[in-house]
Amino acid sequence: MTATLTQSGPAQEATTSPRRPRRRSSGDRVGRPGVIWAAPAAIFFGLFALVPLVLVAVLSFTSWSGLGSPQWAGMANWTKLFHDPVMLKSLWLSVLLTLLGVVIQTPLSVLLGVWAAGYQKNRAVLSAIYFVPLLLSGTAISVLWRALLDPNFGLPSQLTWLFGNGNLFGHQATAIGVLVWVAAWQYTPLHTLIYQGAARSVPHVLYQAASIDGAGTIRQFWHITLPQLRNAMITSVILMVVGGLTTFDTVLILTQGGPGTDTTISAYYMYKQAFQGFDFGTGAAIGLLLVVVATIISLIVVRVSRYDEMRSVNEGI
């Protein structure tokens, strides 16, 4: 069994690579692309993604109203931000929404993903329907749910036993609940897909061995499937964290940060400062803060989980 497993995948390349240097000197460069092949895409991407990354840091030390040229402002934006109660509140709200997203979407998408990994016909048909939200724009989804949950024309007016007096957008707790739910509706399919792919690549021998040992479905799930989904879980959690911290369109369309500033998360506050308050310097500072926080959290997840060592979950099989 060991032999058949190691024959596939990168392992094979590793065993043949020591022979490479002998061939390299002769015609090895024939047919290989030069670096120039990568240049157009690299320049294009650098211009629109890496330059802005540097620029957001520079702009955070300037004052700019969107017209004319930015003026140097030193630390003014930063000191203002750290004394701004709305900013501090928005950071806390961003973290809260992100955490709630991870806590709710992860168990849901693990269960759905493992379920969808089965090859039964009914599962394939149902999964095809489950994946539909994945295709829709965040805008369409938010507009749809805004209409569905409208206090006057939406579901709350018909299902009073479930929604009480029905104004979900009027209280902080329910407004946060709406945001978390809509995000879950929108993103669970993506994470389900990730777990489905991972669950399908779990080696069958593991399950065969476990059932010979007399382990039932539930024990197999806990002791084989879950540990095997480790790498998928890291990817999925990083995506949720970065996505959660930068959630923006859902807030803009569903709650406009309200009631008051009760759902004004940082990404939305950045948009409000820059594109509604025309204070682009402060907006850039919040943007930089978001990049830094998202990167730090991703690095922590990677480091804690030792993902960077690229340990395969199949080690030792």
């Binding site: 015609g27 090895d28 460069r29 047919g31 692309p33 670096v35 092949w37 990568a38 157009p40 895409a41 690299a42 294009f44 991407f45 629109f48 993604a49 890496l50 802005p52 990354l53 620029l55 957001v56 969107g66 759905l112 489950y130 539909v132 295709l135 829709l136 724009s137 965040g138 805008t139 369409a140 507009v143 749809l144 749910w145 209409a147 569905l148 024309f153 939406g154 007016s157 018909q158 993506l190 897909l193 990730i194 065969q208 790498n231 998928a232 999925s236 996505g243 930068t246 923006f248 369109d249 990404a267 950045m270 820059a274 682009f280 850039a284 943007g287 930089l288 978001l290 998202a294 990167t295």
Partner: protein, 272 residues
């Protein structure tokens, strides 16, 4: 391996089906009835008098034009991605040396840059370039932010081409151009269709770049049209939901025909 039917999973899957299906049901039934009927019957009612007037009136209030703009945006983004990504992935997989590795690292870093966080400098660059309120100004950053994922997908596919095939072509003395067009491209068809579908989806559904980089009706795309419709005529739920449904129809059609390419690609992003 045959398993017993799992009652718990069966129940859960039906509950989730209802949660996913309910909004879609409401959207379809609401968009097929008159506003007065909808306000009277509530969101769960099935239309008594069918009407397509919501769609036609949406189309006349500008959605036809927004559709066209979105189509142009999508086609342009796909074109840029298809021109830039295959040579890049080829270089990443086959070029020797440090530069190729560091280019790949740069794109991996790009995966982690959230577009929202750098929207202000992008706005600065686009307005300095004189492309504000111009569809081109939306096309360029949208395409740029598609590149990392597309590169990851396509270079993954190209990596699976066995080295024997390259060696055979090298023995024939084939140039890198010939290797690219006669070996690499034909064998990466599945990856190509995936990145086409993925980037088309990104462009079609994009909201943030159009929101901050355009202003006038002449360069408005569908997602922005939906947002405006909601803020201006939020009370007209059937009209609004008809517009939402219209914005989804092209994607759902693609999903019907290219589900495999899309799902496989997104699964690959997750990694193993």
């Amino acid at each position: 391996m045959r398993r017993r039917p799992n009652i718990f999973a069966g129940f859960g899957s039906v509950v989730w089906l209802i949660l996913v299906g309910l909004p879609i049901y409401v959207m379809i039934s609401a968009s097929l009835q008159k506003q007065s009927d909808f306000n009277h019957g509530g969101p769960l009612s099935w239309p008594k008098h069918w009407t397509f007037s919501n769609f036609t009136s949406d189309f006349h209030t500008g959605f036809g034009h927004y559709f066209l703009n979105t189509l142009i945006l999508t086609a342009a983004v796909v074109a840029i991605v298809v021109i830039l990504v295959p040579p890049l992935s080829f270089a990443i997989v086959r070029a020797r040396g440090l530069v190729a590795t560091s280019v790949f690292r740069m794109f991996l870093l790009g995966l982690a840059i959230p577009a929202q966080a750098v929207i202000i400098p992008v706005f600065y660059l686009i307005s300095k370039a004189g492309l504000y309120d111009n569809l081109i100004g939306v096309i360029l950053p949208t395409a740029a932010f598609c590149l990392p994922v597309c590169t990851l997908i396509l270079s993954g596919v190209m990596r699976d081409i066995t080295s024997e095939l390259y060696e055979a072509m090298a023995i024939d003395g084939a140039s890198s151009w010939r290797v690219f067009f006669t070996l690499v491209m034909p064998l990466s068809k599945s990856g190509l269709s995936t990145i086409i579908v993925f980037s088309a989806l990104q462009a079609w559904n994009g909201f943030l770049f159009p929101l901050v980089l355009t202003q006038s009706d002449s360069s408005k795309v569908i997602t922005l049209g939906l947002y405006d419709f909601q803020t201006a005529f939020g009370v007209n739920v059937p009209g609004l939901l008809a517009a939402v449904l219209m914005s989804m129809i092209p994607i759902l059609l693609v999903y019907l025909f290219a589900r495999r390419a899309l799902v496989q690609g997104l699964m690959g992003v997750g990694g193993k």
